[in-house]
């Protein structure tokens, strides 16, 4: 029971990083300038590095020949536990930055908590990853300011992206059964506690960027328990392609 919970929690942690990393990977070579291309690829690399750590631990728990790759690539769509936010498409650079920013601030708060997780592996991954994620927050919040407070055009594009993506943000803080177990057992973070800090931080950065949060938002939930948007199928079609087309091979 405990093992199953821990396994499931590792998937919660890994899937968000993995699907966001995958989205960033799609952008490689297509950014507005070489420097941002390099930075976004770096973030993607960091995220996949974390995923590998989480899924190696998950594979050890699962046994039965499971590997980081079977866990990453051989699940059905409704078995992925990432949030709606990270599966949103790379509509334009504004969406990329806002999506990143909304996730990074959450990710930073989460990892700070996980550094003192009762699970050694999770604590070690969090301790290693927090430095990376501090950099991610620096990157996305700086671009949020630059573009929010840049030109009229960039301001409008950013506001539009905020208006569109904000509705996916609070799913990060709506705990699943597994996340409630993780908080209670000291393995994971208490999302209820993090939420007000998150909201405060987001508002502060948004103010600095001269952007506003939309009022009367109808928030969207469900992906963490397997109800994904239409995006997810296409992401997985790419992501799983070789593993599905050529099963049981080494690469």
């Amino acid at each position: 029971m405990l093992k199953e919970r821990l396994y499931d929690y590792l998937l919660h942690l890994g899937d968000n990083s993995m699907i966001l990393g995958q989205r960033l990977g799609e952008l490689c070579g297509h950014g507005p300038e070489l420097e941002t291309d390099i930075a976004l690829t770096n973030i993607s690399l960091d995220l996949f590095g974390q995923v590998r750590n989480y899924f190696q631990a998950a594979a050890a728990i699962k046994g039965d020949g499971a590997t980081e790759d079977s866990i990453a690539m051989l699940r059905y769509e409704n078995e992925y536990k990432n949030t709606l936010l990270v599966e949103q498409p790379n509509d334009d650079f504004a969406h990329v930055i806002v999506r990143q920013f909304l996730f990074d601030v959450y990710h930073q708060l989460l990892l700070k908590e996980l550094m003192s997780s009762k699970d050694e592996t999770i604590a070690a991954v969090a301790t290693k990853s927090i430095k990376e994620v501090n950099y991610h927050v620096g990157f996305s919040s700086t671009w949020l300011k630059r573009l929010g407070d840049g030109t009229e055009v960039s301001h409008d594009k950013m506001q539009e992206a905020v208006n569109k993506l904000w509705r996916y943000s609070l799913e990060l803080f709506k705990p699943t059964d597994t996340e409630i177990w993780a908080a209670e057992s000291g393995v994971g973070a208490d999302l209820d506690q993090l939420k007000p800090i998150y909201l405060e931080k987001i508002k502060m950065f948004m103010d600095e960027a001269t952007l506003g949060l939309p009022e009367a938002t109808v928030f969207q939930y469900g992906a963490k328990s397997g109800r994904h948007s239409e995006n997810m199928g296409y992401i997985l079609a790419d992501f799983q392609y070789i593993q599905r087309a050529y099963p049981n091979m080494k690469w």
């Binding site: 995958q22 990977g25 950014g31 507005p32 690539m73 650079f93 407070d149 392609y241 070789i242 050529y246």
Partner: protein, 317 residues
């Protein structure tokens, strides 16, 4: 003193002959400057366009380890592009001008990137053969006369040889894998072999710039010599993989101490150079899209930094 009777051009050549590096602030003949802007920027463009055929497989990489390695590789190529553009900028051309030349199709880049990457094995073949061929050229350029170019090459070469090993290792995994994987590897070699040996450029008889390039140490060996070196080093590697090189005329020539190989289809080569490869249009379209869609971002970044300067000035006043 004899030197006083030498022209500036001759003195310049003497420095190169002595093995001195030419630096950005040094006097240089206009033709040297122009040739170097052209060559270095073409090289930079090749790195940037080269990101696309491999970027094409990032989202479909077969394992997390391979995905991370491929991401890192494509990122390295962006870094190479940056070093090379910086080296070109020392000669008095701006990044915007460089991008404009690339996007408008005015500037050339290595034709190899106008071939499609259609299977995962292409990530192996491109690393093994394309980075492999590039290294042969680039190792030579670490000793070139223009300092900023030579130094960029030293940094780049280290990473390129890593890329080549990574590509070869992908091929090894495929060749040690299932039959369908080995067939995928053979198919990739079949498609990439000839374009790779074309990367060294036209035959010496048809390569009019070679003599001048040799004098300036942009070249130390001719296209045909480099091509031979590549074939000689690659054939045994293919044997280890258990793959056959798609050239029925390929055989060891005891007398020459080199492999003989078949006749290159130069018509195909020139066709692709002139824009008629399968991917020419798409590559340029993707670059243009990235640049055009990024314009508002670059504008905003500039506007923001100007505002910051103003705000600081106001604070001080």
């Amino acid at each position: 003193m004899e030197n006083k009777t030498l022209s500036l051009d001759d003195q310049f050549q003497e420095r190169i002959d002595r093995g001195e590096n030419i630096e950005a602030k040094d006097w240089m003949p206009e033709k040297y400057r122009k040739t170097h802007i052209r060559q270095i920027s073409q090289h930079g463009h090749s790195e940037i366009i080269g990101m696309l055929p491999e970027g094409n497989w990032i989202s479909r990489a077969p394992s997390l380890r391979r995905k991370v390695a491929l991401l890192a590789k494509v990122q390295d190529e962006a870094g190479h592009g940056l070093y090379l553009y910086s080296a070109a900028e020392t000669l008095g051309i701006s990044r915007d001008e460089l991008m404009e030349q690339l996007n408008s199709g005015k500037a050339k880049y290595s034709s190899i990137f106008n071939y499609p990457t259609v299977s995962w094995a292409d990530m192996g073949a491109v690393g093994w053969l394309v980075d492999g061929a590039a290294i042969i050229n680039q190792v030579m350029l670490t000793k070139t006369s223009y300092g900023p170019y030579a130094r960029a090459m030293v940094r780049i070469c280290k990473e390129e040889s890593f890329h080549q090993r990574q590509g070869y290792e992908i091929m090894l995994s495929l060749c040690n894998g299932a039959g369908v994987q080995k067939a995928m590897a053979q198919d990739a070699l079949n498609r990439w072999w000839w374009p790779s040996i074309m990367m060294f450029g036209p035959r010496d008889e048809e390569s009019p710039n070679t003599e001048q390039s040799m004098k300036w140490k942009i070249k130390k060996k001719t296209n045909d010599e480099l091509r031979q070196q590549f074939v000689d080093q690659t054939v045994p590697q293919a044997e280890i993989l258990g793959l056959s090189i798609p050239d029925k005329d390929l055989k060891w020539n005891e007398e020459r101490g080199h492999y003989d190989f078949g006749i290159i289809d130069w018509e195909e080569f020139w066709n692709v150079v002139k824009g008629n490869g399968l991917m020419n249009e798409k590559r340029l379209k993707d670059r243009n899209a990235a640049w055009d869609e990024g314009q508002w971002v670059r504008n905003a970044a500039l506007a923001y930094s100007e505002k910051q300067v103003e705000r600081k000035a106001k604070k001080i006043a």
